[in-house]
Amino acid sequence: MDAIEVFGLKRIYRARMGVFGRKVKEVLAVDGIDFDVAQGELFGLLGPNGAGKTTTVKMLATLLTPTAGEACVLGHDLVGEPGQIRQRIGFVFGGERGLYWRLSGHDNLVYFANLYHVPPEVQKRRIPYLLDLVGLSGRGDEKIEGYSRGMKQRLHIARALLHEPDLLFLDEPTMGLDPIGARELRHTIRNLQAEKKTILLTTHYMFEADALCQRIAVINQGKIVALDTPTELKHHVRDLSVVEVQVFGIPAEAVERVRALDGVDMVSVENRDQKQALLIQSGDGAAVVAPVVNTLEGLGLRVGNVVVREPTLEDAYVRLVGGEP
């Protein structure tokens, strides 16, 4: 039995508009998706902001009612048996909310351990263990209001693990963390993976999905546009090469001119400090270098380094979602 089985899951949000709220606007957030996650698998949902990742996680965590479709979580029906699911899952949503700031980290864990009916004798062992696991041992007695964002995020992970859940939903857990905090959190996630926990991770960081996930579903505008291992997803673009052109300020007109060149499949722009990188996907990268550079210089732009390289998962992702990462 798979840990998660999803069939045609759909969610429409309805927002009331106008002074009297009579006008209803419908937004299709998740559009009939199907996927499954095996026991012990670290599965990624990768997509841009607003793609439907968080909505999917909230439905599977029993916090949102699906508009249509079915899903089984750990063998229980999502709509009919939310109580049985809640005892066996843990979830973490990105951000600093979801903790009691006037309480210490330890008190927060005691609070949630009781909500999950963890016996007091187990709490005495489990809470210090989890504080240690997420790198907060020695800081548990401090109030949350003094914690950094990374510490709060790691405490969220500890909270989600209090009742030893079989399945963990991590919704953009490294969002907003500094590089060191994010690296530590990824290390914690790897440790959980080693403990054979089933994890559903959502992220829009390509390298994170590549480094952690065994399989990835790329979701865009509510639909799953690809589902495979990171290696296989990269193979989707193996016939391509990527030309990275360093530029110093690039107008939209220049991007359109490059996009119109023969042999150019896709163009995106990435900001890198004071510079930009023009990323051009092409069947023959070497062949398009000269026309691209000539076009840019013809528009009076200053061009820096030019590199032709193999495609990464990010390039595959850009191609799948058809826009900027």
Binding site: Y13, T62, L63, F91, W101, R102, H117
Partner: protein
Amino acid sequence: MRRLRVVWTVFYLYLKQISVDWFVIFTVIVQPLIVALLALYMLRDTEGFQAIFVIVGSAMTGLWSGTLFFSSFNIEFERWTGNLENIVGSPTHLATVIVGKTLANTTMSLSSMVLGYSLAALLFNFQLTIAYPFLFFISLLLTVLALISLGLVIAPLMATNPGATVWANALEFPVYIVGGFLFPVLLLPIWTTPISYALSPYWAARALHATSSGGVPLSDVLLSWVMLIVFSVAYWFISAWLFSVLLRRAREEATLGMQ
């Protein structure tokens, strides 16, 4: 047993948070003390003045204000802090958490009664004798039960209809009056009597005043107790229905995590 442990944990940890919150301290301790002081000064030379009536009445104002305001915002607070999803997504029912929180609010409010009593006895040397201490204690327990039940109705009602929170402000002082907290409702126009009878705080004040001031037949106290129990049971059923509506609508309308 597990549910009791949750209630105790929520009670203890929530009390820890609100005991340093100045808004809570003002509403349930300072404001009732001001009411008590003003009433003691205003009424002390009137015929038949009983300081214990004022102390109990002012404590009722604190209990009512605490129930009204904090129950109105009990669920909203969890939503604002991002904890509502964490609670609803856990195996514990949201109502169990709200019971613990309401109990903590009521405990804070009761402290105003102790402070008011001490202030009147030590600072003003008023004779403060509770006529029937045991019956007063039972009345107090039933009052707490009735106010927690009422809080369990107010909390989901306000969370389901956020616009209704404006009523929380409008309802505070009128209930002081029609509840007979600081003077008998017999002084009010006769048409207000049915309103008083329909409010559990009125029966709570009536039971507490009767058992602390004395001079009232036991049958009157028993009637107040029965009414408090009837109201508590009725509120409990209404609250169960309101919570089920709230949770169903919140999952359908995606309002659990709304900021």
